[in-house]
């Protein structure tokens, strides 16, 4: 094939045109993405749209912040509730005697009696009552935990003191956990401890203990019939 003169020059022209077009395409591409080259109307529309979007987002932000605050408040409230419930649960466990407990307190030791002298079950019951009167938080008689349903009595045949049906051996040691200062008031003049000492001449020993251990009660209280009254 013979190459004609017009083909060569036209080829040169088209080659240059192709190059220019290519450059122009790319430049145009850059220009479309450049804000400086946009039309004022387009820019105004864009600004307006962005303002709207921004105010929407600010609105959302406030909304979400409010919700965050609510969640935070709920969280704090829930935490406080859970803590107070936990505390109450622990208190109830201690009060109903289902757990072993320890703490500062006092012990009252009643020495064994000889001859025809013996302790009455009232002595023990009164002692326990006196200890609760001086704010004992927990009381145990020879490690028998005294709770609301503990029965202090005596065996009809042997005349021995019983706690929940179990005979109580001498010497009797009564433990009480609570504020030691407050518990010391148990020996106040005219009180039952004082009476035992003076009137019955029993050399009972009261000792302060930095840490007493009281085991859990042998039985637990269940409420199958008793119910909270409705208002």
């Amino acid at each position: 094939m013979k190459v004609k003169a017009w083909q060569i020059s036209l080829t040169i022209a088209l080659l240059s045109l192709g190059f220019l077009l290519s450059v122009q395409f790319r430049t145009q591409q850059v220009m479309v993405n450049d804000l400086k080259m946009q039309k004022t109307d387009d820019l105004l529309a864009m600004v307006k749209k962005l303002y709207e979007k921004r105010s929407d987002l600010i609105h959302d932000l406030w909304d979400l912040r409010g919700r965050e605050r609510n969640f935070e408040a709920d969280k704090v409230e829930g935490k406080a509730l859970s803590e107070s419930m936990q505390q109450e649960y622990t208190d109830l466990q201690i009060a109903s005697g289902v757990v072993d407990i320890e703490g500062p307190g006092i012990t009252i030791s009643l020495p064994p009696r000889s001859g025809n002298q013996y302790y009455y079950y009232q002595d023990v019951a009164f002692l326990a009552n006196e200890l609760f009167n001086v704010n004992a938080e927990a009381v145990a008689i020879n490690d028998h935990r005294v709770i609301t349903t503990t029965a202090i009595s005596e065996d009809n045949s042997s005349q021995k003191i019983t706690i929940d049906g179990e005979p109580l051996d001498e010497p009797i040691v009564v433990k009480a956990i609570g504020d030691p200062e407050s518990l010391k008031a148990v020996s106040i003049a005219g009180g039952y401890v004082d009476r035992l000492k003076i009137e019955f001449n029993i050399p009972l020993i009261i000792k302060e203990e930095p840490n007493l251990l009281i085991p859990k009660a042998g039985h637990t209280t269940y409420f199958n019939y008793a119910q909270e009254t409705k208002e």
Partner: protein, 128 residues
């Protein structure tokens, strides 16, 4: 006939390969230059079709038109007259005229008889 098309392709490829851009402020002048070049090329093709093609006219027209168009647009911007639009208008009109003429020549070549008939009847082909 395929050689010029090949040239166009190579030119496009070269432009892509060199990844060359001009400052955005001058993009406007480049676009006018491209328009002038397009006009020259279509003029050249028309010349080939009409058998009065001249290489020197094409090449000189191609480069001087492009440079002049860009230069005039630039000067227009400097003196506050939008010669840019004048260039677009002038070259745009010419490009469409040339395209119409080229189309007619191509049609004449593909369907010689039919076109001959119509030219015989009307004497001269007028594009509406």
């Amino acid at each position: 006939m395929w050689l010029p098309l090949l040239g166009l392709l190579v030119g496009l490829l070269l432009g892509q390969v060199f990844a060359f851009t001009i400052p955005l402020a001058y993009a406007k002048y480049l676009s006018v230059a491209v328009l002038a070049s397009l006009d020259s090329v279509f003029g050249g093709i028309r010349g080939v079709m009409e058998d009065h093609y001249d290489s020197s006219i094409l090449l000189s027209g191609f480069f001087t038109n492009a440079l002049l168009a860009a230069g005039l647009a630039y000067i227009g911007d400097r003196i506050g007259v939008d010669l840019y639009y004048a260039a677009i208008f002038a070259f745009g009109v010419r490009i469409f005229q040339n395209l119409a003429i080229i189309r007619r020549h191509i049609l004449t070549r593909i369907f010689p008889k039919k076109q001959d008939k119509s030219t015989d009847k009307e004497g001269i082909v007028v594009e509406g």
